[in-house]
């Protein structure tokens, strides 16, 4: 299980493929056009792999299912390749909740016959057994990754931060247990509120968690203030993954990645790009800035 415990230095993200850009709606639209078909995504993934990327961290967007089909169809090419799923693809649910309400959304996205899933208990079970409901939704999201190596499974920041704000910390405990027992994987948490999340996880006995958070020189989306975030990066025991290092593309890569060097606990850096040249440059800069050796 040793291999399950180390994270790659470089994690390749998927925002660029789905028109997610935090600094420009224009760029977002241009990206949506460029990556209209799955082949264009696969082409960039292959370039990233050729440049040394071994981990793809992606949302459970519908189109990722097609990418997974491609990975399964070419086992030799992708034998070393890992995928870190991040669930759920929130906009899918958010738009559905606006239109259908919460029950309507569950009905739409729980696979198969909803009542059949719960056999005799039916809706009564859903209304009281949230662990079971969460497990069903996780299984539904994980279906597309069948047969693919997914050593870490993340919950997206929208959900993590909502559970955090609502103070329902036991949900994290349930999630953590289920991911470990059912998938033999390490649970991961994406957040925009890293210090508060760390405290919450600790309060329910989750130790040394993998936390993917905004970490950048300009303090962008480092809620609670950059000082408190930096304090936690120095003093707390967890496995940080830095995202939004470039602050949505507004920082220069060299200075942006250099900022990370002062926090030796950072295990990985997540970034996405559609440009081969940018991918190559970022990988090189990340290798330079994260100097502390990784656990093998």
């Amino acid at each position: 299980m040793q291999h399950n415990n180390s994270l790659d230095r470089v994690l390749f993200g998927d925002n660029q493929f789905f028109g997610v850009n935090h600094a420009s709606d224009d760029k977002s639209r241009a990206q949506a056009m460029r990556f209209k078909d799955d082949q264009s995504i696969i082409r960039v993934l292959d370039q990233a792999i050729d440049l040394g990327v071994r981990t793809f961290m992606c949302t459970t967007h519908d189109r990722i299912a097609n990418i997974c089909d491609h990975l399964r169809a070419n086992p030799l090419r992708y034998s070393e390749f890992k995928v870190y799923p991040c669930m759920p693809y929130a906009h899918k649910y958010a738009n559905a909740v606006t239109e259908l309400g919460i029950m309507g959304t569950i009905n739409q996205y729980v696979p198969g016959s909803f009542l059949g899933t719960f056999a005799k208990g039916g809706m009564a079970v859903v209304r009281s057994d949230y662990s079971k409901l969460m497990q069903i939704l996780i299984d539904a999201e994980m279906k597309m990754f069948h047969g693919i190596n997914t050593p870490v499974i993340f919950i997206q920041n929208v959900l993590v931060d909502m559970i955090l704000g609502l103070g329902m910390f036991e949900v994290f405990r349930d999630y953590d247990d289920y991911i470990r027992t059912k998938y033999g994987a390490e649970p991961g948490y994406i957040t925009m509120n890293m210090p508060d999340l760390y405290d919450a996880l600790e309060s329910v006995g989750i130790v040394n968690p993998i936390i993917c958070a905004s970490i950048n020189k300009s303090g962008f989306r480092m809620s609670g203030g950059i000082e408190r975030n930096e304090l936690y990066l120095r003093e707390k025991t967890f496995r940080p993954i830095a995202m939004q290092v470039l602050a949505a593309g507004t920082l220069r890569p060299r200075e942006a990645f250099a900022y990370l060097a002062q926090f030796p606990r950072i295990e990985s850096v997540l970034f996405g790009s559609g440009s081969k040249q940018h991918i190559a440059e970022n990988i090189e800069l990340i290798q330079q800035c994260l100097l502390v050796p990784q656990e093998a």
């Binding site: 789905f18 028109g19 997610v20 850009n21 935090h22 600094a23 420009s24 709606d25 224009d26 977002s28 639209r29 949506a32 906009h91 958010a94 738009n95 909740v97 606006t98 239109e99 259908l100 309400g101 919460i102 029950m103 309507g104 569950i106 859903v126 209304r127 009281s128 949230y130 929208v158 931060d161 909502m162 559970i163 955090l164 704000g165 609502l166 103070g167 329902m168 910390f169 036991e170 949900v171 925009m192 509120n193 508060d196 300009s218 303090g219 962008f220 989306r221 809620s223 609670g224 203030g225 602050a247 949505a248 507004t250």
Partner: protein
């Protein structure tokens, strides 16, 4: 600092989001929640700490709240807001404000008479780019205004179906109340209040009974004319995208939630803007917040509201009066389209 007692009525998408944000605020205790959906209230029962109610009157009577967040369907706003205000509770209410302006007027007066903090959830006012646009327009950088366009597009209804209150116009469903209200409210505070509707198209695309798109020509109080273009059945947008464009005789400003683009015919040294295009990004303009969920603006508006509650002084951003004005413009558009 004393701890404020907070309650939330309505735990749909916005209510849950508000509950998380309120719950994360320092020195605020979310002591009570109110909803009729068992799947939601049972989750609070199992994992949460707040007392659960299915009747808002009971909650207001028993809990001695400092403030309440109301995020129910629009048709319920009037009664719930009124009862909260009458009990001396400060109110944050989701948008749109009311379904008819007579009721809205009554609530505005009641809040004023009681001296209570009253705020609506038109969150675009807490996005740094739109705040900067408002500031720049006030300094007159683009000269005399000649045209505006307020736009919003998104993928809410992209298939033919219906069934919830959002597909019933009488309950505040439809693109005009839901999407267009955001743009109208933003427009009125950033550029000017619409005073005349010159023509309107309310189009049904997939919905039955309500419009999916609103296209209208408006005249503002400052005499500027322009367009409102809103469509919630446009799946080329990943999520709701709102923008304002204003053209003046000396330049133009194009603004959305991520970028503010200013074009000037001549440089403006006081503002440090060069001739031609200048782009400012949200990464520099975002309002820092203590807790983040879905966007700084959602937390920033609650932080602002709570700060006003602590001061016991109504704020100036997103007041009921401003929301009432938006409701009146919606009525003008409906009358014109009828």
């Amino acid at each position: 600092m004393n701890t404020l007692r907070a309650g939330i009525i309505g735990l749909g998408k916005m209510g849950l989001s508000h509950a998380a944000i309120v719950g994360a605020q320092p020195h605020v205790d979310l002591v009570a929640i109110c909803d009729t959906s068992a799947i939601v209230t049972n989750a609070f029962k199992k994992y949460g700490r707040a007392t659960i109610y299915s009747n808002h009157r009971k909650m207001l009577r028993r809990e001695n709240l400092d403030f309440v967040v109301i995020a129910t369907p629009t048709k319920l706003h009037y009664e719930m807001v009124r009862e909260a205000l009458e009990r001396g509770v400060h109110v944050f209410c989701e948008k749109p404000f009311s379904l008819n302006s007579a009721e809205g007027q009554e609530l505005v007066q009641l809040a004023q008479r009681k001296g209570l903090v009253n705020q609506l959830g038109y969150h675009n006012h807490f996005i740094g780019t739109f705040q900067e646009m408002k500031r720049l327009l006030a300094t007159g950088v683009i000269g005399e205004l000649v045209h505006f366009s307020g736009e919003a597009y998104g993928p809410v209804v992209t298939k033919e179906k219906g069934g919830t209150w959002r597909s019933r116009s009488s309950e505040g469903g439809g693109c005009l109340f839901d999407y267009a209200s955001h743009v109208l409210n933003l427009l009125q505070e950033v550029v000017g209040r619409p005073v005349k509707v010159n023509g309107s198209l309310l189009k049904q695309i997939y919905s039955k009974g309500v419009e999916d798109a609103v296209y209208t020509l408006l005249t503002l109080e400052n005499g500027v004319t322009g367009t409102l273009l809103v469509n919630w059945s446009d799946e080329t947008y990943r999520k709701m995208s709102t923008s304002l464009t204003v053209q003046g005789k000396k330049g133009k400003i194009v603004c959305d939630a991520t970028e503010l683009k200013v074009y000037l015919k001549e440089a403006n040294t006081a503002e440090g803007l060069e001739a031609g295009w200048t782009v400012k990004w949200i990464t520099d303009l975002a309002i820092p917040v203590g807790y983040y969920l879905r966007g700084e603006e959602y937390s920033a508006q609650i932080e602002y509201f709570i700060a006003n509650v602590r001061r016991q002084e109504p704020g100036t951003i997103n007041t009921f009066e401003q929301g009432l004005y938006t409701d009146k413009v919606i009525e003008m558009i409906l009358d014109h389209a009828a």
